[in-house]
């Protein structure tokens, strides 16, 4: 590239002006395709899952589960940023999910019930917490990281279970959530007007879907930026990244905070969706659930974890109720555990990786 401005045709100059005006917000590379594709899937998903004549009867899906899948999908997406791309296994992400839920809930009770402000409040709290816990947990690498994140998250759990019970409601969970209307007009639980109502269902789903779309765009942008490249470099070879002159510790901390951000967004949405924060949302089995979702769906891919979240929640909510086979109901968690171990053992790239391999096999090669 030379410093001299190259002679450009009129249309190119115009495009340049537009790009300048929207600056860093302009889409790059494949972003338009990815985001548009995601938008189409998000728009069709609740209809196919819970209202389409034949398919939805086969699936036995329902609207609120569709919303829940997106929320956990955001959580798993952020988790994969850490596990799949930076190569750090945290067993403490319940801390961010749960504390964001509590923060958003308490915020709604005391300050404002606006869903957007609730998400911002919850997420801000989760990010600050991720900063502190990340700073502490990253003092020791490798296996200790998993243990330390686990320990600090458990500390949060016990904090809210008794010393902070006056705020959090202790064992009973937080029940005082007061969500207001979106923009002061639209009640979240009401159906959207006309066609949108059939397609998307409720305002809540639209709200969650828009945020999901933003999260996908953000994650895609991060992962395909030089910054995201550094995460992958650290996963592949920490020492080499260090030798190149990168501050590995700082990038790891930032990756941890970013995944805390996604967990915070998801946790805040979770409280808006459920209007209740169970104490168990801070317990380490919640961290375990997001680990399972991510690994099941496929680490190191953008959409794998979202698919994993869908599969996990489907099994947890539909299969456990005796669909499609009655006798399977009490074994649902056992089956998930078995599938999880099999995936780690023989198929570390998860469901998404499996489908990619199938695609490559059919089309005869890499893209």
């Amino acid at each position: 590239m030379s410093d001299e401005p190259a002679p450009a045709s009129e249309t190119e100059a115009e495009a340049g002006v537009v790009a300048d005006a929207i600056g860093i917000w302009a889409p790059r590379g494949n972003e338009v395709r990815v985001v548009a594709g995601t938008a189409v899937v998000l728009a069709l998903f609740p209809f196919v899952f819970s209202r389409m004549p034949v398919v939805s009867e086969l699936l036995q899906g329902y609207q609120s589960l569709a919303t829940l899948i997106l929320i956990w999908g955001i959580f798993a997406l952020g988790f994969d940023l850490l596990l799949g791309y930076t190569g750090l296994l945290s067993f403490g992400h319940a801390a961010f999910w749960g504390s964001a839920a509590y923060a958003a809930g308490i915020f709604s009770q005391n300050v404002s019930g606006s869903p957007i402000l609730m998400v911002i409040a919850g997420t801000a709290f989760a990010v600050l917490l991720a900063w502190v816990l990340g700073f502490l947990s990253l003092r020791r690498g490798g296996i200790y990281f998993a243990i330390l994140t686990l320990a600090f998250a458990q500390m949060m759990f016990y904090m809210s279970s008794s010393p902070l019970a006056f705020l959090t409601g202790g064992e009973n969970g937080f029940t005082g959530v007061e969500t207001a209307e979106l923009f002061g007009i639209f009640a979240l639980e009401t159906d959207l007007p006309s066609v949108l109502g059939v397609l998307l269902g409720t305002w809540l789903y639209l709200f969650v879907a828009v945020i999901t779309l933003l999260c996908v765009a953000l994650a895609y942008r991060i992962l395909n930026s030089p910054y995201g490249m550094v995460f992958r470099a650290i996963r592949e070879n920490e020492q080499r990244a260090e030798f190149v002159g990168l501050n590995v510790w700082r990038y790891r901390l930032m990756s941890f905070i970013l995944s805390g951000l996604f967990a915070g967004i998801a946790g805040s949405l979770f409280v808006i969706h459920g209007t209740y924060v169970p104490l168990a949302s801070l317990y380490w089995t919640t961290s375990g659930e997001v680990v399972i979702m991510t690994v099941l769906g496929g680490t190191g891919s953008l959409f794998g974890p979202v698919v994993g979240a869908g599969v996990y929640l489907y099994v947890e909510n539909i299969v456990s109720g005796g669909h499609p086979f009655d006798f399977i109901a009490p074994f649902w968690h056992l089956i998930l555990g078995l599938v999880f171990v099999v995936v780690i053992w023989v198929f570390p790239r998860g469901i998404w990786g499996f489908f990619r391999d199938v695609r490559d096999f059919v089309t005869g090669g890499e893209e």
């Binding site: 596990l83 190569g87 296994l89 067993f91 502490l136 003092r139 020791r140 690498g141 490798g142 296996i143 200790y144 998993a146 243990i147 330390l148 686990l150 320990a151 600090f152 458990q154 500390m155 016990y158 904090m159 279970s161 008794s162 010393p163 019970a165 380490w284 089995t285 375990g288 680990v291 399972i292 690994v295 009490p330 074994f331 968690h333 056992l334 998930l336 555990g337 078995l338 999880f340 171990v341 780690i344 053992w345 570390p348």
Partner: protein, 313 residues
């Protein structure tokens, strides 16, 4: 109750709670130190120990779970507590050997995260197996009749602590001492310690490390099994106990220093006492206190109280 009796009660309760942590932490620590393997299924071994102990020692009435639905309402051999205490370690030892052979071995060359994930998955499977067959409600595992009251020894009789707790402390002390002597003063221990330092060199000298390693894993598992039997009657017995005890056990290892038996003992005692003292004073903070201490130790001494400064991560 006078103050000094109360203080001794708290102290003994703390030591007993610490003893359970120590049994689990010593096993975890020697496995982590020698095999460099993070075992998230260690809590599940405790779970197996508890249920095996319960079924060997007593006959129980099942109130939920698949076994009950299939028409089995009473289960258990009712052999009593002493046979259970003797048989269970062997059972869990064998489970440990199997785990080493079929889970740890295949994952030796995989990344740390995969090892954690697979043992985590295994822990879920074991927990769910117990839940499916025995139900998720708590089963009655009472302390044996001969160990319920305070021991009939002049001084101790005045302290309101069941003799079972003394047995727990005693059994732990003996077992940990045995493991310590085994590691420090036998040929087996020498090979294990050498293998911890430099496995390549040991193998070059013509010593096969796989056999001592599998035994180390078995011993660690057996200790967890014992912890399950002695700890079972002190708490409600349900399928989640394994996952609940795993986190404090891990913390004990980390603050004591990985690979150090003395560190695990120190960490366990520290945790047990802290917990007991807080329960007696500011009970709301009892659990948080553990984690606060752990955080403090890690900030000041990242390698743990008695751990050696690490060379490689």
């Amino acid at each position: 109750m006078s103050f000094h009796i109360e203080a001794i009660t708290v102290l003994l309760n703390g030591l007993q709670q610490g003893a359970i942590y120590i049994l689990l932490a010593v096993g975890l620590s020697i496995i982590l130190g020698t095999l460099k393997f993070v075992n998230f299924a260690h809590g599940a071994l405790y779970l197996i120990g508890t249920y095996a102990g319960l079924l060997l020692a007593l006959e129980i009435n099942l109130t939920s779970g698949q076994l009950q639905e299939w028409g089995i309402s009473t289960l258990g051999l009712g052999l009593g507590y002493i046979p259970a205490l003797i048989i269970v370690p062997f059972v869990v030892f064998v489970v440990g050997l199997a785990m080493e052979r079929w889970v740890v071995e295949p994952f030796k060359d995989r990344p740390d995260t995969d090892q954690i994930l697979v043992t985590f998955g295994l822990a879920i499977i074991l927990q769910e197996l117990f839940r499916v067959f025995f139900g998720s409600s708590s089963l009655p595992f009472s302390q044996p009749a001969w160990a319920q009251g305070p021991p009939q020894i002049p001084f101790l009789a005045a302290i309101p602590i069941s003799s079972w707790r003394y047995y727990v402390i005693g059994i732990t002390a003996v077992l940990v001492l045995i493991v310590y002597l085994l590691v420090e003063f036998t040929d087996f221990g020498l090979i294990v310690r050498a293998g911890t330092r430099d496995p390549e060199m040991v193998e070059l000298l013509g010593i096969r490390l796989s056999r001592p390693y599998i035994v180390v894993f078995g011993i660690g598992a057996a200790l967890a099994g014992v912890a399950g039997v002695v700890g079972g009657p002190l708490n409600p017995v349900n399928p989640t106990i394994g996952n609940e005890i795993l986190v404090p056990a891990f913390l004990t290892v980390v603050i004591g220093g990985v690979g150090s038996i003395a560190g695990a003992v120190l960490g366990g005692i520290l945790f047990g006492l802290t917990q007991a003292i807080l329960v007696a004073t500011y009970s709301a903070w009892a659990q948080v206190g553990l984690y606060a201490i752990a955080a403090l130790v890690l900030l000041v001494r990242p390698q743990g109280l008695l751990g050696e400064a690490e060379v490689a991560p």
